[in-house]
């Protein structure tokens, strides 16, 4: 037994070529899920193997990589994936959104506007937006082929009939370039508008389900809605208690066992950046009461 030697960014070049072909096809057909021969990665399925394979396939030695999970660079899995690429590719990593050329993310789109020389790679658990309406892949592929999205609209309509709102708070379905209905991955619907007309290339990798899809730069992405029930992004009605941001997506943090809580930016880099620019915390008196 000899210790194995791994290629740059872990995957062998043949595999990278195969993934790149899938990525090119995905870019050519925006929102279409391209099957690809997903490999077994040294981290578990469901922990970002799709995103990791996409990142490994596009990463070059000059790239600067940022990895976030829930908007944060310091969550355990983001740390683990960043470490993986530091070890296998030796690329420079960063936590600053603006410095990164490749950003791998789980469940968030960074708050800072992305630019044309950046690529955003999403980790996707279930790529099929119709999956929970129709469990069969054979059936959902047919529905996509025929643009048969009535079932999804019925689901959204039923939500409105029952709850008065569309009861989907994350992984809110979108339509890409007026054709394919696509799962934006489990980002909060707050992030949905950022997908549209984005200068950066957006790639989505689902390892366990063996699918890659893409939103090319400057592509129109619309969140599904109705004329009389237009799509509304949701955010807590509060501002960040560390940087006072009123436009960022907020995490709720429980601060003691009396049920007191505070709101802070989910995007840690955005929050740090603002604090470095001198934005301070807001007065404690503005906190919401605990039983609100």
């Amino acid at each position: 037994m000899t210790a194995p030697v791994y290629n740059f960014a872990y995957l062998d070049e043949q595999t990278k070529r195969m993934i790149r072909r899938a990525i090119l096809k995905a870019i050519a057909i925006p929102g279409y899920q391209v099957p690809f021969a997903s490999r077994e990665m040294p981290m578990p399925y469901g922990w970002g193997t799709g995103g990791v394979q996409v990142t490994a396939a596009i990463l070059g030695p000059q790239d600067v990589l940022k990895v976030i999970d829930q908007g944060s660079d310091d969550t355990t899995n983001a740390v683990s994936i960043r470490k993986f690429f530091t070890r296998t590719a030796g690329v420079r990593t960063t936590t600053a959104t603006l410095e990164a050329t490749v950003i791998q993310t789980r469940h968030r789109v960074p708050e800072a506007a992305l630019s044309a020389d950046q690529v955003l790679v999403y980790q996707v658990p279930i790529p099929e937006p119709l999956r929970f309406l129709e469990p069969r892949e054979t059936e959902t592929r047919r529905m996509h082929a025929l643009s048969e999205y009535g079932l999804m609209h019925v689901k959204l309509y039923e939500d409105i009939a029952r709850h008065g709102h569309i009861a989907t708070a994350y992984a809110y379905p979108v339509q890409v370039a007026s054709r394919y209905v696509m799962d934006p991955s489990p980002i909060p619907k707050f992030d949905n508008p950022k997908l549209s007309n984005c200068p950066a290339l957006q790639l989505f990798g689902a390892g366990r389900e063996k699918r890659i899809y893409a939103i090319p730069p400057y592509t129109r992405v619309t969140s599904l809605d109705f004329d009389d029930h237009p799509f509304e992004p949701y955010r807590h009605d509060a501002s960040c208690e560390l940087c006072a941001a009123t436009d960022s997506y907020l995490d709720e943090v429980i601060t003691d066992d009396q049920g007191n809580r505070m709101f802070v930016c989910s995007d840690t880099d955005y929050c740090e950046h603002r604090r470095a620019l001198g934005h301070g915390p807001i007065a404690a008196t503005q906190k919401e009461p605990a039983d609100g």
Binding site: R39, D69, Y170, P188
Partner: protein, 371 residues
């Protein structure tokens, strides 16, 4: 007061160091060797090789040790290594008819050419804890006899001669490889069998059991189960002929199933096929039952049971995929949770507002919900 947390990296490193420490355990207890695992936990090694899809006893033993005996974790380790290996091609079809038999039994014939060979088996042992094994007791070597030169023809082949059973499916060109191509449906039988051979033993066992209890019953008989070594050959382009690569241990199960016939086909027996690395009869038998259940549509039988549903079975048989996705729920989900929380608060506020308008006090509603 909350401050944004840093230090995930150190926490992870420390957790891994603690894992290494716990894996080693009490330093006064000698470390277990790979040889010990290979020889004395041989069936565990067999299972890890089979579901890990890599025939290498030493690496499988290492994986078991590294995984602290967690079999699915060990299978995962082996798979993750396997996927980095270069692929030279596919071997010639193995000939299990020429197997060096260690065990061979048939439940359909009392005696048959070659005879019933029991071999090393738990069958017929009384499951009484054997306290002599708590220490290193002397075990006398097993009795041996000169090897029988008999060829052990497969029971299905014996039946085929009389036209009572369907023929062996013809090999049709290149065999698919679901580790190199994504699985799509409907899947050919080659891919189905590959998927089942890599599939989780427990999952296949439960599905096979469900067919016996009436969810897709297919009247099986264990036509034959054989375990032993088989030579693997590889066709070398340069040499122009097949060269032997070595021998691997396999367990093969041929199920013989009733088939009452259809408008166009005469009643006859049909086949279900199972195979696994090493000695694993439970897995091979379960696989054979599920393989046959998945053929229900092809044979024009009534379908609708879980074991007959190709997409259901093949999409959920892989324990490395399954454990990854189930366990990923451990990862932070607070962004989605916050989004749900926001929605829930809104829906609740509206609900209570409606109730207030109709005059029901909030406490009474909460009480109802709690009951």
């Amino acid at each position: 007061m909350y401050v944004a947390v840093k230090g995930g990296e150190r926490a992870i490193d420390n957790a891994h160091a603690l894992l290494a420490d716990r894996r080693r355990g009490d330093r006064d207890v000698p470390a277990i060797s790979l040889d010990q695992i290979d020889h004395q936990l041989a069936l565990g090694v067999d299972r890890v090789m089979c579901e890990g899809s890599l025939y290498d006893r030493e690496l499988a033993a290492l994986a078991i040790k590294q995984a602290r005996g967690d079999m699915i974790e060990a299978i995962f380790l082996l798979r993750a290594y396997r996927t980095t290996l270069p692929r030279f091609g596919a071997s010639e079809s193995i000939n299990t008819g020429a197997m060096d038999i260690r065990r061979r039994i048939s439940a359909t014939f009392k005696d048959l050419p070659g005879g019933q060979v029991l071999g090393p088996t738990f069958d017929y042992t009384h499951r009484l804890l054997d306290h002599t094994l708590t220490s290193d007791s002397d075990i006398a070597p097993a009795a041996t006899a000169p090897a029988d030169q008999a060829t052990f023809r497969s029971v299905a082949d014996l039946l085929a001669g009389s036209g009572l059973i369907e023929g062996q499916a013809e090999a049709s060109g290149e065999v698919g490889d679901l580790t190199r191509e994504p699985l799509s449906f409907p899947a050919g039988r080659d891919l189905r069998l590959q998927n089942l051979a890599r599939g989780d033993e427990g999952f296949l066992l439960a599905l096979a059991y469900s067919t016996q209890r009436g969810f897709g019953r297919n009247h099986p008989f264990a036509g034959e189960i054989r375990y032993g070594e088989v030579e693997v050959e590889f066709f070398a382009e340069d040499a122009g002929f097949a060269v032997p690569l070595g021998a691997i241990a396999l367990t093969e199960c041929q199920m013989v199933n009733q088939f009452t016939g259809s408008a166009t086909q005469a009643p006859r027996f049909t086949r279900g096929y199972g195979i696994s690395f090493g000695q694993n009869e439970r897995k091979s038998m379960a696989m054979a039952l599920v393989d046959r259940a998945l053929r229900a549509k092809e044979l024009g039988e009534e379908t609708g049971s879980p074991a007959q549903d190709e997409e259901f079975v093949l999409s959920h048989s892989d324990n490395v995929q399954a454990t990854g996705f189930v366990e990923h729920l451990k990862l932070p989900h607070y962004v989605d949770f916050q989004a749900e929380l926001g929605l829930l608060r809104k829906l609740q506020a509206e609900f209570f507002e409606r109730q207030a308008q109709s005059g029901t006090p909030k406490e009474a509603i909460m009480q109802d919900a709690a009951e």
